[in-house]
Symmetry: D2
Subunit: 337 residues, 4 copies
Amino acid sequence: MLIVMDAAASAEDVRRVVETVQKLGLSAHPIPGAQRTAIGITGNRGAVEAAAFENLPGVAEVIPVSAPYKLVSREAKRENTVVSVGGVPVGGPRLAVVAGPCAIESEGQAIETGARVREAGATLYRGGAFKPRTSPYSFQGLGEEGLRILDKVKKETGLPTVTEVMDTETADLVAEHADCLQVGARNMQNFSLLRRLGRIRKPVLLKRGMSATIEELLLSAEYLLAEGNYDVILCERGVRTFADHTRNTLDLSAVPYVQRISHLPILVDPSHGTGKRQKVTPLSRAAVAVGADGLLIEVHPHPEQALSDGPQALLPEMFAELMKQVRQLAPVMGRTA
Amino acid sequence: MLIVMDAAASAEDVRRVVETVQKLGLSAHPIPGAQRTAIGITGNRGAVEAAAFENLPGVAEVIPVSAPYKLVSREAKRENTVVSVGGVPVGGPRLAVVAGPCAIESEGQAIETGARVREAGATLYRGGAFKPRTSPYSFQGLGEEGLRILDKVKKETGLPTVTEVMDTETADLVAEHADCLQVGARNMQNFSLLRRLGRIRKPVLLKRGMSATIEELLLSAEYLLAEGNYDVILCERGVRTFADHTRNTLDLSAVPYVQRISHLPILVDPSHGTGKRQKVTPLSRAAVAVGADGLLIEVHPHPEQALSDGPQALLPEMFAELMKQVRQLAPVMGRTA
Amino acid sequence: MLIVMDAAASAEDVRRVVETVQKLGLSAHPIPGAQRTAIGITGNRGAVEAAAFENLPGVAEVIPVSAPYKLVSREAKRENTVVSVGGVPVGGPRLAVVAGPCAIESEGQAIETGARVREAGATLYRGGAFKPRTSPYSFQGLGEEGLRILDKVKKETGLPTVTEVMDTETADLVAEHADCLQVGARNMQNFSLLRRLGRIRKPVLLKRGMSATIEELLLSAEYLLAEGNYDVILCERGVRTFADHTRNTLDLSAVPYVQRISHLPILVDPSHGTGKRQKVTPLSRAAVAVGADGLLIEVHPHPEQALSDGPQALLPEMFAELMKQVRQLAPVMGRTA
Amino acid sequence: MLIVMDAAASAEDVRRVVETVQKLGLSAHPIPGAQRTAIGITGNRGAVEAAAFENLPGVAEVIPVSAPYKLVSREAKRENTVVSVGGVPVGGPRLAVVAGPCAIESEGQAIETGARVREAGATLYRGGAFKPRTSPYSFQGLGEEGLRILDKVKKETGLPTVTEVMDTETADLVAEHADCLQVGARNMQNFSLLRRLGRIRKPVLLKRGMSATIEELLLSAEYLLAEGNYDVILCERGVRTFADHTRNTLDLSAVPYVQRISHLPILVDPSHGTGKRQKVTPLSRAAVAVGADGLLIEVHPHPEQALSDGPQALLPEMFAELMKQVRQLAPVMGRTA
């Protein structure tokens, strides 16, 4: 739990809060700031009741946290973070639309897709070179060859690129080619990888794990910030539930929740979030309406031939229609697209 | 599984499908229709692979169902159902906005809320007289007195009313007072109640159970239709998952999924779906953008005094702001509000 | 939260706890008992931190409850409750083994099954006359005819009977025939039904809902006790999760958890809990080893012809083998079978 | 899906199955074996109905798999795999009991715990040197110093050791010290790590991910076997669900399910599976009774001082009592302990 004191709170006010914390058998950690003091509480195993502190003199706000993320929190930084990916801002008034194939399969497929999504209004290109696959016998991506194709796509289309990084060995290599390093859902708690990416200082797109709470997502982001990398973009991509009409259950409430407690931008990936082509467009609209900072959309010119995730990829013309709808919705949200 | 034949399919085409089904060890039930024949498949324990049938001559569509809902399906009725609740259409171009307190607590509270939500643009009034409560020691509603207040709200505001019906004993009584009978999430599979409401012939608002699949929701609706009541409105209100930042996880993908396979209208309840006041407005926007036919919103003039679900009730002025945002979004969806 | 004072606690100790509660902005409700005082806390929305009270003088135990169940708790009654079902004790040293078909389909099937399960060592007979079915088109049970067959099974085999009651209309009828009334998972929060069964005063077997927390299960039991019916048997039957290798995920940790906080007996239903015949025996062993008071097992002489839940029913010879294994395990648990 | 032919099946039988597969629009991959042929089916997106093949001549068994694990399957190897961890067999008649602290905190703590668990009957020692922690601010383990202590524990107690490996960088280092490399739940789908461990050829203990299906667990194991490492031990450690009375929901049905379809041994970790000290012993009994090949138990001489997971660690005397109970149960299962 983090107790934030008023700017006008006295030293006596702070002392009183600290004592109250200690009476509860917990430890208080005053963190003096430029304008005001925050007091971290540790030692509790579950949640601490906010009511014990809310009415004490000088207390501005009580923020329940059962785990100590700090740098990612709004308390640490009031203003929204805008991450620049190869010059394209993510988190600002213009919606970031990251589009492209799940996996880069060939130069032709990659560049064709890039041209089509740029034309339709995408602001960033995505395409996997290293693919984490449930089965060892599935297509695992083109690897380094895929990264070279990614360079060409960028050169041809002008779109900065996002691609997944799967491990520490290839992190530097991937960072040489891509403008933003994606950490997939399965690696959200691969802490060694997070630490490494925290030191590489390229923007990171961190996807929520399949059964991760928002707190765990933010703590994984905290690993990156704690190493000095503040260019972190979060991504809701659906969680695993009993519901079987979609591949995952897209949890759009994560967006306003994250935006309230963290300054980091958050995108939504309705392609993985639903796993069904027909649902990508309606859920993209919903994501924009809920307030997301952008979208991650899988597009493939020939989804029936896709080597991975074909059933959820949009055709370029479907993506163009999606962008049309997004452009209509964006102004209602005070955004552009 | 339901196999729908082309209007132009020959008797021979149908025979071939039936044989293929039988070769798989399953039973085929041809259902001749006015324009075309559908063939139901039973005897399978799990899903049947659609690929076995999709390419046979004369097959128009293969609809995977592991349980035989029929009347609620788009196959049974192509056009959207529009349910009239006391003269207000639900499922048509105008969004249905059902607003009011979780529980009717007093005549004053009920009427005040009704006046405020009507003024802000609600089209229907909701208020609970019989309340299902997890604990026997919680406020259980005003009962019959609540129903009388409901009548007064309707008289004062002109808004048709929706209220929950908890059991077969009070079903007739509730039906005398309300324009639409709500079946709560906990009763979604109370089949005796569903059968009774199927015979009462008042519109029914059927909420998805906390861990119900869409198929189960539709099969519960099928109970109502099978008894002759076609005025059924579905409602997504969040499902129970591990995620703990909201009370339930609102599953907005249910909306396009239901709309594809069923002709029944579907509303979204972001109040129960999130359980948090701050998330009601963003998720209401998302519900409209995903294509829902309307919203169910809890409003209370003094939520801190509410006898149930206070933390998720909006203040009337917050509801007015929500309606303003909904009105901006509706045209993008080809709707009014 | 319930704070239990030492038998030796002074009035001053109690007063101090009450004050501490009030300082947290909550309400304290001292409940003086024969030997010691308990203090209920209300007004909190989430959990209250136990640490605030555990070290106060005179406090014996702090029991976190976010909802006020009282009569079902160990605090209200230290000793295990033993429920007599037609003379057969449930909750005592002998394991209760309730066996029989999911649904009574015919007199022959019912009696044959009864004879076989009695012979193998079952202590109670189960068989459904009124069946809650997801689809309105599935076999719904023989109804009253099924109850008459149940009487015959009891007469023939001497085994007291357990059968499901689905609604308030048929509750009295079912109670005339059966020795124990089962409330199914879908009706766990059918509060009108619970209240009615609370007044009927026949033993009730209450199954955990598909997505019910243990607290909700206990609060549903509280509905029964609050109406005066103390003969309540709980039943863990699996919960709904993403895991797809079984129909439900059997949550055996519920058993020791319930036994710690409640005095009511708890059975395990591995037939519904797994939905797969091959898993019933291993999970039955596990249920006995975890400390359950008994088992609920579906047995059918011809499962391939069963009108409901055939895939999970054991053949009589498989049930006999199961009982053999249970008899070997029971002594390790200080039980007989 | 894998279709296993009878040893006596003719080439004609195989050809007929292949044709049937192709008629369904899928691909058939005959895999001739020493004694009989198996036919893999690919190209299906969901499950294929087994009924299509079960009755064809020469078909022995139809094993539904929606993903192609092969080497881990019982089809690939009929006999149970017994993995030797530093000379101690895992998967044989003697239950493997892996016990020790969550994290190695000091030489004193580590050795004291080792001595106590060996004395009580543990067969392997566990202790973490590299600890994956949700928060970057939590104790992350002693690292290399922890590995050196692990060596001393082994020398002092004679117990072979199991410790977690978090990344590819430290994999070789960890492999130099430990007898078995544990892959934690968060890394179950860290495919780069799995591939590396597949090449190291030390036994691997692979824990099920928090929201992993059994199929995904087996496919992760397949990564190890596909690289040539056949010494793989699986571990059920609870999955994440809505249930809040335990930290995770221990899914004991995984044990008989895995044992039916795979030849690999499987342990149960009730410490993580429940997260509560009081439930470790009952769930350990249940794990033995369900048929697990052993247990993973956290033991700490001073759990209140533990730097990680204190609430779930057993005191040494509690572990000794647990072992006593396990020894009583083991013979019922035809095991020793």
